[in-house]
């Protein structure tokens, strides 16, 4: 590992940001940020949500304009007004949500991005170039497959190929490991390593400490829109980075010991060989059987799109099941509506609080009563008892240890606060079954811990909990049992202590199981 020495030999950075400042109404997202990026380095940009990482990179990619500050390439000031300018300056970016057209093939998607595309597209030539580069960097994909047919990991490879083919020299990758299984992450880091050796400058936006310590050459930490510090990987430790990321100490998660939890005799939720129809881009469930007992957290691991949404929706009663039975506390509630499930104390905490659980232009208070309007209605529904609702919420706030402002419009809350609002709402009435799907996705470290803590607390109150997540760390920390969902089937069930992330990772990607399908 002689990366750092090679760095210091180069006097001139490939890319320099000087005093970049960008304010949004009410918040300074970037406050005089200076950054040097050298050719042939992997530069990690670390910080919690809202630290300003994405804004800074979007300024670099021409999505936003800086209020002040300048960008230099090879020491020459440049003006980047749009992504088009950025690409002309050989800067490329892979976004968290891949921007590809699913009904087109791999090569067509790449061709669309090429700056020198001829009027008549020379498919052979494009394919040849794709294969050439993908061989070189071990980014193997089949150029003639449709985007909708390949996995998220492969889509990411296509995104990187896109940038390489269009001659980008600076690659900005926004949370690239987010969608990958553990063994895929390792392969991905190898790809980055070979790119680095060929002189590409790679900027890695992430909030995962582990990734950073594994593959970056230098690490810059952003906090509250300012550059908190830059260090070489050799001098960085997890503690140092955490200190830079947070001003105050983050309390850890209190998981509780397994001994305190008694096994319940009867499962609260039981799915018996549930199947659903495949619809659109979704994936139907195939013979899924699952039991969740009161007082336990069952974690569902899997790459998203393998039936997680359908699983949650079947339990919630939004998606009909074509076969099988759903029992709730022994009662057959197969294909009953979500209203009935809600009445049976089923709570749902979705991945995206704003789009899946919130009415943006109603106040927080009104949003809080939406799941139980009947409880607070008076005079047969002709008026609402807001006082009672307020009192209940205040009680729940005391119990869970966090609060939200009640009289503001929900849309004005930050992502973390919105998720808190939903957690508060869903846990307020002591639910007996909680469906939590990717519920810490996009939350910063502190909100994540608060959210997980609330879940653990609900388990102590004997709630049955289904936790769907892509974050294996999260699943291993809080679950009592783990099930892996792949291609609409449960392909494995474990106690966390009897397995490890690699085993789960292989099951998640289908490499560890024999499927009936031939591919």
């Amino acid at each position: 590992m002689v990366r750092s020495q090679t760095l210091q030999n180069k006097e001139q950075p490939l890319l320099t940001l000087r005093g970049i400042t960008r304010a949004f109404p009410g918040v300074v997202a970037n406050d005089h940020i200076d950054l040097d990026i050298y050719a042939g380095e992997i530069h990690a940009l670390l910080g919690e949500n809202g630290a300003g990482k994405s804004v800074l990179m979007k300024i670099l990619y021409g999505f936003y304009h800086a209020d002040s500050g300048e960008i230099l390439i090879n020491g020459m000031p440049v003006s980047i007004q749009s992504p088009h300018d950025a690409r002309n300056l050989h800067i490329g970016m892979v976004f968290q949500n891949h921007n590809m057209i699913p009904v087109l093939s791999v090569w067509e998607n790449i061709a669309l991005f090429l700056p020198d595309l001829k009027f008549v597209v020379d498919a052979k030539n494009v394919e040849r170039r794709i294969i050439e580069i993908s061989d070189r960097y071990n980014l193997k994909v089949n150029p003639s497959k449709l985007i909708s047919q390949i996995s998220i990991g492969e889509q990411q490879k296509v995104e990187i190929l896109k940038l390489l083919l269009s001659d980008a020299r600076v690659l900005i990758l926004d949370e690239p490991t987010h969608v990958l299984a553990p063994h895929e992450v390792e392969a991905f880091f190898k790809v980055l390593d070979s790119l680095r050796k060929d002189g590409y400058a790679i900027i890695l936006i992430t909030h995962k400490m582990k990734d950073v310590l594994e593959c970056a050459d230098r690490i810059s930490v952003l906090r509250g829109g300012r550059l908190a510090g830059t260090m070489l990987r050799e001098e960085a430790t997890e503690d140092k980075l955490i200190n830079l990321m947070f001003e105050k100490v983050v309390p850890g998660l209190i998981v509780g010991t397994e001994e305190t939890r008694k096994e319940a005799p009867e499962p609260f939720l039981e799915l018996q060989e549930i199947s659903t129809d495949t619809r659109g881009m979704g994936r139907g469930l195939k013979d899924v059987s699952l039991k969740i007992y009161p007082g336990e957290i069952v974690g569902i691991a899997g790459v998203s799109g393998n039936g997680q949404k359908e699983l949650c929706d079947v339990i919630l009663g939004i998606e009909p099941s074509s076969k099988g039975k759903k029992l709730l506390a022994g009662k057959d509630l197969t294909n009953r509506s979500i209203g009935i499930m809600r009445k049976n104390k089923v709570a749902f905490i979705p991945e995206n609080a704003l789009s899946m659980a919130t009415i943006p232009y109603l106040t927080v208070l009104k949003n809080m009563v939406l799941t139980k309007t009947r409880r607070y209605s008076r005079h047969g529904g002709f008026s609402m008892d807001w006082q009672a609702a307020r009192a209940d919420i205040e009680n729940a706030e005391k119990r869970l240890g966090f609060s939200v402002p009640l009289n503001v419009i929900a849309k004005t809350l930050s992502g973390g606060n919105l998720q808190r609002m939903i957690i508060l709402r869903e846990l307020e009435s002591n639910p007996q079954l909680i469906i939590a799907a990717y519920f810490t996705r996009g939350l910063d470290v502190q909100s994540t811990i608060a959210a997980r803590q609330a879940l653990v607390q609900a388990r102590e109150k004997r709630a049955a909990i289904l936790l769907v997540s892509e974050d294996l760390d999260e699943l291993f920390t809080v679950s009592d049992r783990l099930a892996v969902l792949f291609d609409g089937k449960i392909v494995g069930e474990f106690k966390p202590k009897d397995t490890n992330m690699y085993e789960i990772g292989h099951l998640m990607t289908g490499s560890g199981v024999h499927t009936d399908a031939e591919n």
Binding site: P25, L316, I318, S337, I338, G339, M341, R342, K343, F348, P350, S355, M356, A357, T358, I359, P360, Y361, L362, K366, V369, L370, T371, T373, R374, Y376, S377, G381, F382, S383, M384
Partner: protein, 351 residues
């Protein structure tokens, strides 16, 4: 005052002070007046005289004012028929069709039970009118709820079907001995009573009552809250356990019922007879007013008033200045255009 301001701050409009809003709308009306003045000039009419005519014959005299109110009645009701489904995110363009079917149902009662006293016949016609409109709206409402067809398309298409059905009924069964394009005149018991020696009939008070009910319903009741939730974010509402499908169907049918009521009030209160093609785009006028008013009851009242002044005034211009009928449409189109664009005269919108 506070309440008004609060309502104007809908999601479509960014918050601004009441004073700004008043100035803004005044300037918008001025823009309309200037543009239309140009059209009048091109047509060789004197804009000042024309505007003076419009004023004296609408707001300037008791009779004129009463005619404006009469013109307002169907506008208020059909606008409400759009505003109710609007609150759950349904675009009901089918007011016209629902109005025709409602009128047909009411007419059946008026012709069949001629001997009933008014106190029994009128409520019966009212209920049947609402039933007709509701049934006509059930088709798009149901198709929408099961996720099959967009309600905008179906309501729009059904608009051209409904008048044909009414025509079929009139030609084959209902036409009077003297005239094939209309029924015989309704008996007095089938006519909504008129007031103050003008043509203002009971429909006006029914409309006001409905507007107030609508406002109360949305603001205070549990169902209003749940409807707002569905309109604000249907996905979240469904996941929060609100029976979205049921609401979509019921609310769409309520919209249809209100439009049907408008049809009943038109034939029973205004014409006293069912004419072929009795409604010239009343349903669409309601849609326009609802858009202009942003679906709010007070706004619907104000906008209906403005539009009623324009149409009654415009009708008059046809007579006194011998302008073509299309001129009213130009004036209305200007109004719609400018209000929908909502030009802001100072400051800029926050994004």
């Amino acid at each position: 005052m506070l309440r008004i301001k609060k309502y104007i701050q809908t999601p479509l409009l960014k918050s601004e002070t009441l004073r700004d809003t008043v100035i803004r709308y005044t300037l918008m009306i001025l823009m309309v007046i200037v543009f239309f003045g140009l059209i009048l000039l091109i047509n060789g009419a004197d804009p000042f005289q024309s505007y003076k005519d419009i004023f004296t014959n609408t707001l300037g005299s008791a009779y004129g004012l009463s005619e404006v109110v009469v013109a307002m009645i169907p506008m208020l009701i059909t606008a409400l028929a759009v505003a109710v489904p609007w609150r759950v995110g349904l675009i009901n363009v089918g007011g016209e069709g629902q109005l025709y079917i409602g009128a047909a149902f009411a007419t059946w009662a008026a012709l069949t039970f001629q001997n009933l006293p008014a106190w029994a016949l009128l409520p019966l016609m009212l209920l049947l009118g609402m039933l007709g409109g509701a049934l006509w709206a059930l088709i798009p409402g149901y198709l929408k709820a099961i996720g099959l067809v967009n309600e905008t398309i179906t309501t729009l298409l059904l608009n051209s079907v409904a008048p044909k059905i009414v025509g079929f009924l009139i030609f084959n069964f209902w036409h009077s001995p003297m005239d094939t394009v209309k029924t015989q005149n309704f008996v007095p018991a089938a006519k909504l009573p008129a007031f103050f020696g003008t043509r203002i009939h009971l429909g006006f008070f029914i409309a006001l009552f409905l507007l107030i009910c609508f406002w109360f319903f949305m603001k205070y009741t549990r169902w209003g809250l749940e409807m707002t939730a569905i309109g604000g974010n249907p996905t979240a509402a469904l996941r929060n356990g609100i029976p979205v499908k049921k609401y979509l169907i019921i609310v769409m049918c309520s919209g249809g019922a209100i439009a049907g009521l408008a049809g009943m009030s038109q034939i029973s209160g205004y014409y006293g007879v069912l004419l072929l093609n009795f409604s010239v785009n009343l349903g669409f006028m309601g849609f326009l007013i609802c858009w202009l008013a942003n679906g709010h009851p007070l706004g619907i009242f104000l906008m209906s008033f403005v539009v009623a002044v324009i149409t009654t005034g415009g009708n008059l211009l046809q007579l006194t200045r011998s302008l073509p009928a299309a001129v009213i449409n130009i004036l209305l189109a200007f109004t719609l255009f400018i209000v929908l664009a909502r030009p802001k005269f100072f400051g800029k919108d926050k994004v």
